[in-house]
């Protein structure tokens, strides 16, 4: 596929400034080409990673030996209530209905959705908690399957976000900045380390939903931002055919398709020769990937080789394409085949009212599949070098929104929320960080969003301070100007 292309210097006049500057030649090279009057080789630009073979990324290798080779990023869009799931507070159960102490609530700003309330009564968790495993972790009865694997999980109770609304918080969590436009963590990983497989995208996104939800997933959280567009997450659709138009239409054989591809490839290279725009190379690579995916995607989605008990492990919804359960199973199959970054989004959770009625079904839809994914990765030896992270974009308030009544809800709470991780070199069976007796303030080891991303990159062998991309006159990075690796959760 790689071809050595001779480019006529006079063509360069038609290039956009950015295309020139972001390709592997700089102004000096252009000047030299003009002065020497000769052609210049763009063969190197044609495969940014190296001489041949799959793209190994900008870094080709980590700054230090990696503990994790792959990441599963599970996101609960809408914000799970930590009070009702993983942050066990007996004091809140005891004081159910009482006003939250002013010393706890403090004078910090709260969301405009509940700041008109005159009373902020504590609301106990929706279900009883019990202890699980050797580590004795307290987990709500809403999440019994996740509870049962507590010994494999690393809980962080002290992560917090400065953002108060869903999309900014979600975008901050995934890109390190609250406004859209920066590359997502997965895109950075893809940019830095490329791919570990030949026939599937290296960065896959799957969305799912169980109940009607007020907020949706945002593409900004798997966008390539200012990185070249081939680093963007590839979205698998829910439904029987996760990738549209990947199968050949009736009457077209694979050989014919190949012949067509070869012609398109030639035309594209010709176009590239004319314009020198590196985006064309992205496009060529994507055509090639699509061609290979004609074989590899059906192989991923064909579940006939899965034993019944494995399917059962993911729960009854696994039989229904597009559900979180099915996506978890597909995730395992993608991870097995060397996909580096899988981003799962389950939309729901944003229960400002009726939380007692609406939170349990959302928990039910993710509890068993999430646990099954971890168990399945573990028994196949993949959890050892696959990092699984599970979180919302923030938490929910310990006080009731709308007062204590059957239709009560919980408002957004960025001051602290709970996430868990598994595998990939994290220390299993521990809980990091502490919140006060009301799950309202962090009292020990606060974790910033940047710290989480720095740690994720660290486990992949990448120093977050050294992974940069020069754009608009400065070097950008996933962790912006922050980020400390959380040594306490690393095995």
């Amino acid at each position: 596929m790689t071809k050595k292309i001779e480019i006529d210097p006079s063509i360069l006049a038609n290039l956009t400034r950015r295309a020139v500057l972001s390709s592997s030649m700089g102004l000096g090279a252009i000047a030299a080409a003009k002065l020497l009057g000769g052609g210049m080789s763009l063969a190197k630009a044609a495969t940014p990673a190296g001489e041949s073979g799959p793209n190994l990324g900008k870094l080709t290798t980590g700054h230090f030996p990696a503990r994790a080779k792959r990441v599963v990023d599970i996101h609960m869009k809408g914000a799970v209530s930590q009070v009702d799931t993983f942050d066990y507070k007996p004091e809140v159960i005891k004081r159910h209905g009482e006003e939250i102490p002013p010393s706890v609530k403090g004078r910090g700003k709260i969301s405009s959705m509940s700041n008109g309330q005159t009373s902020f009564p504590l609301m106990g968790p929706l279900a009883p908690f019990r202890q699980y495993g050797q580590c004795g972790r307290w987990v709500s009865d809403l999440m019994p399957h996740i509870g049962s694997i507590a010994d494999d999980l690393t809980f962080i109770h002290s992560i917090w976000t400065p953002q108060v609304n869903h999309d900014p918080a979600d975008i901050l969590l995934h890109t390190g900045f609250q406004l859209p436009g920066r590359p997502a963590a997965g895109a950075w990983v893809n940019y830095a380390l490329g791919t570990d497989n030949a026939n599937l995208p290296s960065y896959v996104v799957m969305k799912s939903q169980f109940q009607a939800a007020g907020v949706g997933a945002t593409q900004a959280t798997w966008s390539a931002g200012f990185l070249p567009s081939n680093h963007q997450g590839v979205e698998f659709r829910s439904g029987n055919e996760p990738v549209l138009y990947v199968s050949n239409p009736d009457g077209m054989s694979r050989d014919e398709r190949r012949a067509q591809m070869d012609v398109i490839d030639q035309l594209s290279h010709y176009q590239y020769q004319m314009s020198g725009d590196p985006e064309i190379l992205s496009k060529i690579a994507q055509y090639e990937m699509a061609y290979r995916m004609q074989d590899s995607v059906p192989d991923v989605t064909d579940l006939r080789d899965e034993p019944d008990y494995i399917l059962n492990m993911y729960g009854p919804q696994v039989h229904q394409p597009g559900t979180f359960a099915r996506n978890c199973l597909l995730t395992r199959r993608l991870i097995e085949r060397g996909v580096k970054y899988v981003h799962l989004v389950q939309v729901g959770w944003d229960h400002h009212n009726g939380i007692a009625r609406r939170h349990p079904p959302d928990c039910w839809a993710v509890d068993q599949p999430s646990a099954a994914l971890v168990i399945d990765l573990k028994q196949r030896g993949l959890l050892d070098d696959t990092l699984v992270t599970w979180k919302g974009e923030f938490g929910r308030t310990v006080y009731a929104q709308g007062g204590i009544n059957p239709n009560a809800g919980r408002d957004h709470h960025g001051g602290n929320f709970t996430m868990w991780m598994a595998g990939g070199g994290t220390r299993p069976g521990i809980a990091y960080g502490k919140t006060d007796d009301f799950s309202y303030n962090i009292i020990e080891d606060p974790v910033e969003i940047h710290d989480m991303n720095a740690t994720m990159l660290y486990l992949l062998g990448v120093d977050h301070r050294q992974l940069t991309f020069h754009y608009q006159g400065r070097d950008f990075r996933l962790t912006d100007t922050g980020g400390k690796v959380i040594q306490g959760i690393i095995a």
Binding site: L56, P65, A198, N199, N312, R358, P361, Q379, G381
Partner: protein
């Protein structure tokens, strides 16, 4: 006092004036004795005078600076002070001797003219004019002083040169520490100076027992993490970690070391606090010591904090051994500070020569992904990424750089027992993925030769109880995955009992998974 200290600190700035001016004066003094440079004669005296003034100013500021009590070695300050004072005195002397006074012009020109041309009466002689008149003959050109200086000029000028070097050197030692100047000097120069001939980097310790606990482990760690602020010039909190002696001396609040008792040693206490604590070191978000470094320092203190002792000669605990090993690996291996932390459950990476590029390119063309395990290491990670089965030739191609392969992934690659016999020669292999291949106990027998293996994935293979038995005794193995094989629970339990360091992951079976069919109803 504060004000005096404030001005005193300008000493280190102003001192460069006499250094420059006096060098110029000495040069002029010599040059004017050669005919082509005679014309510079009139510049000599002003140069000395300027030198003298700047030297006096420097001395004054220096005396103010010396009133600060932050100096560790007052004797050195005093020596520097005396040298400086002597230098200033000699310079003043030369300035005086070199100043030639001409007789006062009499009557002074224009003395009789007022502003409007009206005649002005000369006033009474001032005291200054009388003094000038009195001393002028002694300083007149060609007077005894002038002639004497002309004969003996070499002595005071040489003295100025020597004193300048001496003062400057003593002062420099105060600022930068007395090993600063010759730190990178060639061996013979160091010997002349009475220093040990080779103070270059210590050779990297090759094994645990022969590593020196202070020189190879603790000192480099302190150097990396602490000496940015605690050195002879900066001395935050009065503490310098430049040498063993200054470390033991402690800071302005007293000793930081209690040999034999890490808990009572402020040094250990501060670095082992929670990073959020206000007493935590290092401050201001600087990279803290890692777990291994802290453990090594703790153990060193518990052993009496010797200035030099091989690890082998002390009482080693398992924890200390692992920590020291990790520190050696980190500083020796990839040259990356955090390399050891990133692979802490594994021993330091072995050093190998770089794999032949042509051989790697050939393998890449055969659908392998070959990636170095970290920057600076020649070891590689290899993944097979085609859906076609591997051929024996491909495995042979891998063997051409077999010792470079640290991790090998041959999942679902149609690997045969015979091919595994080739893989068994990859001596540095630590992680091996062979899941979903039709390999049998024969392959397990070959794998038993991979002594560095820590991770082995045999899920969905045809390996049986007998194969597992052979593998469980691999010396470094910690994880073995056998889900989807016919290996029995009894065999797994047997390994569990016999090999405490090995975890066998057998996974779930159909009877472990209860079937649920009820789908919860969404609430809205």
């Amino acid at each position: 006092m504060q004000l005096i200290w404030f001005f005193g600190r300008f000493h280190v700035l102003i001192l460069h004036l006499p250094l420059g001016i006096l060098t110029l004066a000495v040069a002029l003094e010599i040059l004017v004795r050669f005919r082509p440079f005679r014309f510079l004669e009139s510049a000599v005296a002003p140069a000395w005078i300027a030198g003298a003034i700047s030297a006096l100013a420097t001395v004054a500021l220096g005396l103010m600076h010396a009133t600060e009590d932050s100096f560790e070695d007052m004797d050195a300050v005093e020596a520097h002070g005396w040298a400086g004072v002597t230098l200033a005195a000699v310079t003043c002397l030369i300035a005086i001797l070199r100043t030639r006074l001409h007789p006062p012009p009499y009557p002074p020109p224009h003395a009789g003219e007022g502003r409007e041309g009206a005649p002005r009466r000369a006033g009474p002689e001032t005291a200054g004019a009388r003094l000038y008149k009195a001393v002028q003959p002694a300083f007149a050109p060609g007077a005894a002083l002038d002639r004497g200086y002309d004969k003996l000029w070499g002595v005071p000028v040489a003295a100025v040169l020597c004193l300048m070097f001496l003062t400057g050197h003593l002062g420099g030692n105060l600022t930068h520490g007395d090993t600063y100047l010759l730190q990178y000097a060639p061996g013979p120069v160091r010997v002349l100076a009475g220093l040990p001939a080779d103070a270059g980097p210590r050779p990297k310790p090759t094994d645990l027992a022969s590593a020196d606990i202070y020189l190879d482990i603790v000192q480099p760690a302190l150097e990396r993490r602490c000496s940015g602020c605690h050195n002879n010039s900066k001395k935050s909190g009065g503490l310098s970690m430049a040498t063993y002696e200054t470390l033991m001396k402690g800071g302005s609040k007293g000793a930081v070391m209690t040999p034999g008792n890490p808990a009572a040693s402020d040094l250990f206490h501060r670095v082992s606090l929670a990073p959020t604590s206000s007493d935590f070191m290092p401050k201001d978000g600087k990279t803290p010591l890692n777990k291994s470094e802290i453990a090594a320092i703790s153990w060193w203190i518990s052993q009496g904090a010797p200035k030099s002792a091989t690890v082998g000669s002390l009482t080693l605990t398992a924890e200390a051994s692992a920590a020291i090993q990790a520190v050696i690996g980190a500083t020796g291996g990839a040259g990356e500070e955090e390399a050891a932390a990133a692979g802490s459950d594994e021993a330091p990476l072995p050093q190998v020569a770089e794999a032949d590029r042509a051989a790697v390119a050939k393998v890449v063309a055969e659908s392998f992904i070959v990636r170095k395990v970290a920057k600076g290491s020649n070891l590689v990670d290899v993944d097979y990424v085609s859906t076609d089965p591997v051929t024996p030739e491909m495995i042979n191609d891998l063997a051409s750089f077999g010792p470079n392969i640290l991790r090998l992934n041959l999942r679902h690659a149609g690997v045969t027992d015979a091919q595994v016999s080739t893989i068994a020669g990859f001596s540095n292999l630590r992680r091996l993925r062979l899941e979903e291949n039709a390999i049998t106990d024969a392959a397990a027998a070959y794998i038993a030769g991979l002594k560095n293996l820590t991770y082995l994935n045999l899920t969905n293979t045809k390996v049986t109880d007998a194969g597992l038995d052979r593998l469980a005794t691999l010396p470094k193995l910690s994880r073995i995955y056998v889900w989807g094989t016919t290996i029995t629970a009894a065999a797994v339990d047997k390994v569990k009992a016999a090999c405490k360091d090995v975890t066998v992951y057998a996974g779930l079976t159909a009877k472990d998974v209860p079937v649920q069919t009820k789908i919860m109803t969404p609430a809205n």
